[in-house]
């Protein structure tokens, strides 16, 4: 939220930087045709998209949802059921899934209006889990815990392609759209209202911000975009199961990437994905055979460290290295300062 002079680092972490990264991603498939590399790039873009979508509600409006898998799953399932059962194109599926997810988010918002912080997070977990259990049990419609597999019918209308490159470009376009939207929101009155309500809901109300409406809109947008990502995911992986697309792991991962990268920043989630996806791939490759959980241990440890020392994420750590370092020193060094502050809480 800067009205001051732009330093290079601000430009790098702002719109120009984002555009540069996206262009890089765009030319990557021209030079690289290795299937695994492209899949890797797709993964980064995918997580950047869902994390950016989460960011709109979580980073800007302060709604730390741990239930975004619900929206992801609604998108994936709605579109897949329409496609596999009724031959409806996923382009329509995106619309239907997005709208359904947005409606679900309104229900969630209504349920959680008065909840803050961890209670809100808990409620979102419960919400997503209920949905997941319903999906697992509605076997006739959803294929139960086996999920639904999607027949490989490449065509533009089906958003299924034979090579990896078109998938990379579709995800890239979606990412560009979400990042652009985030930039626009950030500079708009809507973005300011969200930040105000994130900081202090009651004070924002007295300044004329309709916090309830704002929260609902932000969550709705976030849900809509997450659902669209769900559709693209389905058409790429060609198999959706409740444990993957509606599971708690997904919800946590999405939130973590956005948090580590930097919430309330359009570029933060992308940064987060750029860090976390290669990290997890590397760890999985190194230790995956003998042990799949090691990467999660490091992941969890990293999460703890980041959240304690750099709760604003990488973006603000890079922007303000001095105050970040001061913070790290004060937490690890002088515990008294921390505890005195606790007495204010």
């Amino acid at each position: 939220m800067n009205t001051t002079k732009m330093r290079f680092i601000d430009r790098a972490l702002g719109l120009p930087g984002a555009v540069a990264l996206l262009c890089l991603a765009a030319v990557f498939p021209i030079f690289v045709s290795d299937s695994y590399a492209l899949h890797f790039l797709w993964k980064i873009l995918f997580w950047a998209v869902v994390a950016s979508a989460w960011n709109i509600a979580g980073g800007y409006a302060g709604q730390f949802s741990l239930g975004h898998a619900a929206f992801f799953g609604i998108g994936a399932y709605a579109s897949t059921i329409l496609f596999v059962r009724f031959g409806v194109s996923p382009w329509w599926g995106m619309l239907v899934g997005g709208v359904l997810a947005a409606l679900a988010s309104v229900v969630l918002a209504r349920l959680t209006l008065r909840l803050k912080g961890p209670f809100f997070a808990l409620a979102t977990i419960a919400f997503a889990e209920v949905l997941r259990i319903v999906v697992v049990n509605a076997r006739d419609l959803t294929g139960g815990s086996q999920g639904i597999s999607i027949p490989f019918k490449p065509a533009l209308e089906t958003l299924i392609f034979s090579g990896r490159t078109p998938y990379v470009y579709t995800m890239l376009i979606l990412l560009a759209a979400v990042i652009l939207l985030t930039f626009l929101i950030q500079r708009s009155w809507f973005g300011f209202s969200l930040l105000a309500l994130r900081e202090d809901e009651d004070a924002a109300e007295t300044l004329g911000v309709d916090t309830v409406a704002m929260k609902i809109v932000a969550t709705g947008i976030s849900a809509f975009l997450t659902a669209i990502a769900g559709v693209l995911y389905a058409q790429y992986i060609l198999l959706i199961e409740p444990v993957t697309v509606m599971g708690l792991d997904f919800s946590i991962q999405v939130a973590v990437i956005s948090i580590i990268g930097g919430m309330a920043s359009p570029v933060g989630p992308l940064l987060g994905a750029l860090l976390m996806v290669p990290l997890s791939e590397y760890l999985r490759a190194e230790f995956g055979g003998s042990f799949q959980g090691l990467y999660l241990i490091i992941y969890g440890a990293l999460l703890m460290v980041m959240v304690i020392f750099m709760p604003q994420g990488l973006v603000s750590a890079i922007r303000q290295p001095r105050s970040t370092w001061a913070r790290i020193c004060s937490i690890s060094g002088y515990q008294r300062k921390r505890i005195r502050r606790a007495d204010h809480a």
Partner: protein, 294 residues
């Protein structure tokens, strides 16, 4: 028909008491430090594995093991409190939620690494024994669990009510600043409470071990149940955790029978969402506690 219902109700209450013990730890930590320990279920898991190890390598009966596991978990809790909880008190919400979440991830996957994903069980001196009366039958293990859990909760209540530290804990729970002005070392109380809460989780784990197998993600289900109980009973309320535990134990057992095992989670999730919607402070909650994080 009638006996089945009675059987279900009683075994629900028996189990519910153990859930209550887990939740008591959680609600205590919240009441005093205003921290929600997302890793609480994994603490139970750690205790269960500890009991398992004691049984496997030294042949210690799980019930005897409580005397080792409980203090061990207390110390474990102290250590965690010092390293992780201390920096997040008064920190932004995101830190408070995700630090313990990260801890839970680490604990679960360390268990996965060390023990693998298989279910492991132990035998205790009461294994396989059932208590039968009036056409009802209960595994002795769950009766023992119930009894011990009741004793622990009563002991905890007395401690909080009559001991100096217990009173200090209640003081801090009510007003941190005032407590520190009364020369209570608030951060020491935070640590002690976390240790105590962890010990409760530990005892619950030791009691559960003879009843169910242990596996790395056993904590996940438990922590969700614990949260539902704590929200239902009211964050920060001992009685709430107790009564909430019994209620949820009942609901879980009854719905497992009538709706089916995989759907039973829905029952208490719906209770959870209803409580959050209708009365977020819970039955006995401290008013305004649902707005924690401001």
């Amino acid at each position: 028909m009638g006996t089945i219902v009675v059987q279900l109700i009683i075994s629900g209450i028996l189990m519910g008491m153990v859930y209550a013990l887990v939740s008591v730890g959680l609600t205590l930590i919240f009441g005093v430090s205003r921290i929600i320990n997302f890793a609480h279920g994994d603490f139970v898991m750690v205790a269960m594995y500890a009991g398992y190890l004691l049984n496997q390598y030294w042949g210690i009966d799980p019930y005897l093991g409580i005397f080792i596991v409980a203090p061990g978990m207390f110390l474990f809790g102290l250590a965690i409190a010092y390293v992780i909880v201390r920096p997040i008190i008064g920190a932004p919400q995101v830190a408070q939620i995700f630090a313990t979440l990260g801890l839970g991830l680490v604990l679960q996957n360390c268990a996965l690494f060390y023990f693998g994903a298989d279910f492991r069980s132990v035998t205790s001196i009461v294994s396989g024994k059932t208590f039968r009366t009036m056409g009802l039958s209960f595994p002795v293990a769950s009766l023992v669990a119930f009894a011990v859990a009741v004793l622990v909760v009563i002991a905890l209540y007395l401690y909080l009510r009559y001991s100096y530290t217990g009173k200090a804990m209640r003081a801090v729970a009510q007003d941190r600043r005032a407590a520190s002005l009364m020369s209570i070392n608030v951060s020491k109380i935070d640590f002690l409470t976390f240790g105590l809460g962890s010990a409760c989780a530990g005892i619950a784990g030791a009691l559960l071990l003879p009843l169910m197998p242990v596996y790395p993600s056993v904590g996940l289900n438990l922590v969700i149940i614990a949260f539902v109980i704590v929200v239902l009973g009211g964050m920060g309320s001992l009685w709430g955790a107790l009564i909430g535990g019994i209620v949820i134990g009942l609901i879980e057992n009854l719905s497992a029978f009538y709706i089916g095992s995989d759907m039973r989670q829905i029952a208490y999730f719906i209770v959870f969402l209803l409580v959050l919607l209708v009365r977020p402070v819970g039955l006995f909650g401290v008013k305004g506690s649902e707005r924690v994080g401001e």
